[in-house]
Symmetry: C2
Subunit: 144 residues, 2 copies
Amino acid sequence: MKARSQRPEEQHLTEQLGATGLRLTPQRQQVYDVLLQKRDHPTAEEVFMRAKKAMPEISHATVYNCLDALVKSGLARQVTVERGATRFCPNMTDHGHFHCRACGTIYDVGLPRELPFVSLPPGFAPECHEVTIHGLCGECARQK
Amino acid sequence: MKARSQRPEEQHLTEQLGATGLRLTPQRQQVYDVLLQKRDHPTAEEVFMRAKKAMPEISHATVYNCLDALVKSGLARQVTVERGATRFCPNMTDHGHFHCRACGTIYDVGLPRELPFVSLPPGFAPECHEVTIHGLCGECARQK
DNA sequence: CTAGGTGCAAAAGGTTTGCGGTTAA
DNA sequence: TTAACCGCAAACCTTTTGCACCTAG
């Protein structure tokens, strides 16, 4: 096929995926775009529906595959704050999540710099962490 | 029916549930016992199967109901570390979880005293938090 | 008497799998 | 050419729901 010049973000995607032995495909690009466009921590199903608008033939299996590929390559995080569906988040900075139990919204919250706040048994190799606060967001707390 | 004297733990259960407007039933007691007997963070399905041994007629719906009742009353926590099944934990002390991505085991890990380590937007009302570290446990890290 | 709780069975929702076909390296 | 990836559809697993019955308060 003919050589194609890449936009900078595409290049970043290609590199990150490549470093994990994965290819950049139109579907992976599309799924990543969906995550970037509306950073509301969509479920896999929501990602599927949004991606389907731009790419009607995309399938469930492919969306899961793409999401997993992005997670493996360090381009997105899996967020598990509740029973049922898993959510995804392209914000790779060190942050936690506030989950409102009334409206279900998930907010990114900052974390302090010093994160080795836990002492693990010797030999354990931590790779990443997830911090979730459950409660009521400002709006829901007021209405209660 | 005839008045029944309660063991201390039963009394505690009754009180905690009662404070949330819930009753102590044999099924809730059984589910709670299951959680206490083997603190390996079982999934709802695992709780169901273990409870079924002692109480063969117990149903799925009831196990979910009981687990939710225990969580609402502050007797157990829901633990969501991975895609798929939700897990449960009767350890109500402030602690986090280490999740080994190789063997799947979940270890309780201590957290430092100072936990309001996150600054939330004004008006937000936090109720509880969940800290999960993902990585490889000692054994799996060695084998790799 | 009534609200809360249970068991059953079915439905709903989320995720994975198997397979034939396609495409990039 | 070959390994990686895709779409489709079915399978699988987890969780919820509706309903009839029961029981504690």
